[in-house]
Symmetry: D2
Subunit: 349 residues, 4 copies
């Protein structure tokens, strides 16, 4: 029996999303990491940059070399904003599958990209071809894609928390509000003062109120589900923990309901989804339930006084919100069981 | 010149609100702490329970003795829920002013208390007399009160963040949503497992969705300002820090506006309030801006796409949300400058 | 081909060491978890107690039933102090291998146990038979054991950090000092006030100075290596993080040396040990290098002015200091590759 | 009655030591802050840099102007290393008292400075005149000084923890070991990656083993007390909290003793010191006992097995270890009660 190993390149391997991807791939039984691309650490073993990898993976980081990359089956691009666009068309041309963790290939419509990112898209034809990599919504298209725009962290959490209400036509599409709280890894491996320990710990804040780019991604996907344009409030917050996003979602309903009915509706909607766990009536999710794992946990409460659903949805921002979702997409691309390498409870502690 | 010192009794001195009150009162130039009431630690010096007080205040804790208390001018009651109601009528009868930190004397209407607290009120006539101790709204009545119901932490933050929009009749009264995040001191000095370090750190969660008692307090005060009944969504969250509440408040407006106009409106509304600091256009508050101090910091953003105000309001839950507000109320009761003992920046670090 | 799966019982599955063991065993390809013993949660699925396990392991917890246990190949006992002694002799008699995570079977000499634990040992003959489960020192004996006393967390870290100096006869055996810092999971799943979030965070302290029981374990093993009785200072500290122990070890040398020589000596001593990683000259270990993994990382500095080695040794207290080491021991007991189920980098973030 | 207000300049006001000094001085009844020197934020109000100061102190930061400074009575220099040396001689010449928070004026002997700082001292005559600003050891000389070298954070904690044993001739001067743990504010307001939230939280490490500059300061002061040269091990560690240093100090004794005797000896030695609090037998200090205050708390344990004292000493590194000690020194310089502006319990929570 010949074992086929997927040859993978991780470009941007030393950022936080990149190294999480490396962590997950070293635990993946069907993947061989061939390339660790890193501008800043080229020539250094990954295990010098993250000493946790000593004895596990001591491979050297390299600058991106397209000819080397051509030997791989797949490339994950976890590059700084803007850098993806330059390398991805060449990778596609070389015949690789590409999963891009940036915001560049997530949009149906280049105009939306240009509005929220403030610049023209450099490869609109690839944008058209690319598939939004949220398996719970686009599984079949993902399987056949060449290029996947891996969703943002806030968006994964918020879209999956809202989708069942819209799909079941029980939601009013006006007045949807998403109040999201994120751990600090969401900002990446940064040396900026606001992310220093003494400034972050024992502190919380909102930021980019009414202007965060993930708003447009959430609106795109929810509009598709609703079959009508949805615009909504999305407010990101920074809270003093490393991992985790918690989205609290407020949705007015178009008729009276109950917590029991809503929980049932969510369980039905996600009944075939391994990575979505709907809480029972009376339970609420916590970010530590999903830390280190690829799960989305969702709790629903009906507020009778207001005929409003209050949904709480949690993920680990660098797993289901980035690296884990990328692995899930890779599994789909290569016909593997979607759970391969992701079938674990993460770390509660 | 004779210096008049206010003789104070702190009942429930060893809980977190209690000890914060003791901290503030030891820095207050016009107060002498006469009684440190503590059921659990009677007979022990306060400086054994909180060793930070060694060399500063080494007074012994005692069980509540009404005859002793009668020698005081004021009693602060920071007792476990239910305990206040038993001792407060007797204290009032002895001629003391009372500032109660529990939920027992915050309501205009005993029926609201009974609905949210699930029990009959034992002294409805005192409830009628008591004044809701939010100086920014009720300063003149507070000055003349005998009994003050010191507001809850979430409520102080949320009411002050919303009031100017309602007072100026620019808010729609439907669809107000308050999404609040609190540090763990809000749960008090507790040994319950969910508040242990390993369960709390690196974790966030919502709790008591659509059922938290502070909802009714917020609704009472905002209804009074609006001149019509307001019901709203209030969702409390627990985040991994000690001090701080951040409320994100969503209010639809009844006409188009701008961030500039809204900031101006808030600055005008609070122009005489020392303890309310309205952020400039483009600034947002953070909990570390108010840690350890009695300030409320408020930032306002107008979301043009949705004709909606998004207000972020922060306090230190055990200062402006409990002990500091109690001192502010005491200052009013005794004709002192409201800032006495509170005129400091807290601790950013 | 018949795959032999090791049938395992985890007694005390819902404590922190227990649940970490469950986490590791669910990732172990050769183990089937048959029993999750839990006094407190009998009748409840483990995935209700730790919701991170939903969709992964939803097995019910049960009270200990020796007849059920008899169907297993191995029992891990992670029970409260004292409880182990009652159940272990019966398990051994039923033919199971037992790995005990308590302090009951770690001593060569019952008298030492009795001195430090303050009570008579109830099964001294089993104590005599049991093997101290530190594979790096006792691998061959472990392979043939029926009962393994899995080492304490502080002790694993401190013994492995010191052993090479004693084995190479370069250490003076007087004046050895071990100053150790531990994360809060070391205290277990406890509701005691000092371990509450608000008391622990932003705080550090020493405890049990000169009296901690792990002192005697460290002394036993180091004395065996040195071939002479060693007594030393061991000081445990609590620091505000969940996982991790860092031991700083001071050892006077009996001759001049250099950092280069000492690093070389450690690398040689541990050259066949997968789970021990000796840092290069100029590198120092950090607890995040080993969080979630079974590694011990050791950094060595020579202080020329004092002819003294300063060794820094780190582990994850609930992995190499408890559950991971137990799995490593199990692998040895059943003839598996020692790394099975443990061959990963943990989580730096 | 004319009230004399001390006119103070804080040079380097926007670093962490600087802003803590500003916090303490705004609470000081006898000081008027005249100058907030800041290279990076000149032209900006301090309350824009630290928004906690809004409504309290909104003074503008300025570049250092010696003519302006000349109008002050005292300058605190909390400047980056090297910058102090350039401005201090000029300030002294203008007639100001100077308290320098850098390492430049702490040494009796320029050669020691040059050995540990690796450069020649630029004003050795001022170094000779300057007084080491540890009031508990040098109070009388401080009162008459023009220039004070304010001690380092680690050193204050470690010297005061060890002094009584040496002064009482009960210590062996060989084999003294100081193992110190510091919060992250000790690194100052830095954007360096290792001090980012995600790298620091849930992590501990040792650094600069056997080479940290504070070693030489500790040795200088302890040698003076002992009347003989002392060299010792000093190991600094970084732990995940903002404030606090905890030093664990190991000292062999030259005769048998007891915890009771040692505690008594410490209490006697510090009997007139307000800011030193010696714990009772059986008590140990914690960093939260001193957070935000100017106290040093010391706990002593005698290890009978080893005839060794284990002393645990804690301070708040930016108060007693920097800004608070500077205020204490200022009080002495100007004939004020040493406790003025510092007479408070800090913040346990």
């Amino acid at each position: 029996m010949v074992i086929f190993m997927i040859k993978a390149a991780v470009l941007g391997a030393t950022g936080y999303a990149g190294i999480e991807l490396v962590r997950l791939l070293t635990n993946h039984p069907e993947v061989s990491i061939e390339i660790l691309g890193s501008q800043s650490f080229a020539g250094k073993p990954i295990s010098d940059v993250y000493q946790s990898f000593r004895h596990i993976l001591e491979k050297e980081c390299t600058e991106v070399d397209l000819d080397e990359a051509a030997k791989c089956d797949i490339a994950f691009t976890a590059l700084p904003h803007g850098a993806s666009k330059e390398v991805i068309p060449a990778l596609i041309e070389k015949g690789l599958k590409v999963i891009d963790l940036s915001g560049d290939y997530r949009y149906d419509d280049a105009a939306v990209y240009e509005e929220w990112y403030g610049e023209k898209h450099s490869s609109p034809e690839l944008l058209k071809e690319s598939v939004y990599g949220l398996p719970e919504l686009h599984r079949e298209r993902i399987k056949k894609a060449r290029l996947i725009g891996n969703p943002g962290c806030y968006t994964t959490c918020s879209i999956l928390g809202t989708a069942p209400l819209l799909a079941n036509k029980i939601a009013e599409t006006k007045n949807i509000i998403v109040d999201a709280k994120s751990g600090v890894t969401g900002a990446g491996r940064t040396t900026s003062l606001p992310y220093s320990f003494c400034e972050c710990t024992e502190n919380s804040k909102a930021y980019k109120v009414a202007t965060h780019r993930h708003t447009s991604e959430i609106e795109q996907e929810l509009s598709n589900i609703a079959g009508e344009p949805i615009i909504l409030s999305f407010t990101p917050h920074l809270i003093p923990q490393k991992r985790g996003i918690l989205s609290t979602i407020y949705v007015n309903l178009n008729r009276a309901s109950s917590t029991e009915e809503l929980v049932e509706l969510y369980k039905e909607y996600y009944k075939d989804e391994f990575f979505v766990r709907v809480k029972n009536v009376g339970e609420l999710p916590e970010t530590k339930h999903v830390a280190g794992s690829n799960f989305v946990d969702i709790g629903i409460t009906y507020d009778k006084r207001l005929q409003r659903a209050v949904v709480v949805s949690v993920i680990d921002n660098i797993v289901k919100g980035a690296a884990g979702q990328a692995v899930q997409n890779m599994n789909l691309l290569f016909g593997l069981d979607e759970r391969t390498g992701l079938n674990n409870p993460g770390f509660y502690l």
